[in-house]
Symmetry: C2
């Protein structure tokens, strides 16, 4: 669609998307004005509208491209034909690496998708669901014979919780990086998933032990 454009058009648009992602991540979608996006991109607001249709297209594109990369990671790892544990470990390591160099887009994906209209939100959430399902399958594979298969997806979500939450407390200037934490997440999950399998085999047995 952009084939006829000048060669600089796509690179300018990519710069705009990067600047918008940074602003949305820091200030939120609703808390960021198109004037700020234009200023950060070094162009006027009318010029900005030469590259993007409207504000929502910015968030939609940022989220869509990011979740598409996550789907690509899932696909790539699937083609490696690894055993269950190496496969899940590979997924975790690659996702953390992906987040590490796309922190802004990831925050837009997790916080700003609610501002998209129904159709675009459905597209993004559909891709997210496929990623979650892939993780749930990988979790199921490392829990052979588990009687509580209903916990595969919740366990995958706990895994996502650990790695998605990392962007709130890992600071670029700190000495602990995303890559340092990825193996810790793996060890914690692989070490603990067996205990969940055992204690949850009789459903909800523990829910009111202490309270």
């Amino acid at each position: 669609m952009a084939r006829g454009r000048a060669s600089g058009y796509e690179s300018q648009r990519e710069l705009i998307l990067a600047q918008a992602a940074a602003l949305f991540a820091r200030q939120g979608y609703a808390g960021t004005s198109m004037n700020e996006v234009a200023k950060a991109s070094g162009i006027s607001k009318p010029a900005l509208y030469h590259y993007v249709r409207d504000k929502q297209e910015l968030a939609a594109t940022i989220a869509q491209e990011h979740v598409a990369r996550l789907e690509a990671v899932v696909h790539d790892v699937g083609r490696l034909k690894l055993d269950p544990e190496p496969r899940l470990r590979e997924l975790i390591l690659r996702f953390v690496a992906e987040y590490a160099h796309a922190q802004d887009a990831h925050r837009v994906l997790t916080e700003d998708v609610r501002y998209l209209d129904a159709e675009e939100r459905a597209r993004v959430l559909g891709a997210e669901r496929r990623v979650v399902d892939a993780f749930a399958d990988a979790v199921a594979a490392v829990r052979p014979g588990a009687s509580a298969a209903a916990l595969d997806k919740p366990l995958a979500m706990l895994l996502f919780g650990m790695i998605n939450w990392m962007f709130t407390w890992i600071k670029p200037e700190g000495r602990l990086s995303y890559d340092d934490m990825a193996p810790v997440v793996c060890d914690l999950f692989f070490g603990g998933v067996g205990a969940v399998q055992l204690s949850q085999s009789g459903r909800r047995a523990h829910s009111t032990i202490v309270a």
Copy 2:
């Protein structure tokens, strides 16, 4: 809507705070107007400003009161003088229970604190830091003799990740509740924390995080 006399001031204010928390949680702080808060509270906008100084006070109060409850939980559990593992388990169960009946306030705490001015943000983040430190201490206590004490706080943050992320995927109408997941989180963490201790011993002794 029924409104009392002078004694009704506080209850009206509490209704406003609850409505604001629900709107902020759903739409974000910047994406919510004071007109919406007034309408949801069944009063006019000028009337709303009779109960609150400005928009920021709403978010500050919601976040401050919520984190104060979390600090109270930490304090209450501390007075029980439990052994390390029951203590951390009790903290997890009570935090999940607290989140379950304050989901809106919790989302404001985790997403909208960035919109507060420096002073109020510092107050909230200070309270959050004390809560995190208490969890890190509880984590340290279940890792006796661990040579990688620098991982106590990161492990506490992974724990927070699991339980803080729950609000994004546990739906009220869903099959799994917060209370169902709390023991799963406990089992996963207690089962896995030993594996982390082994594989991470000797790594990055002076790692620090900025929380």
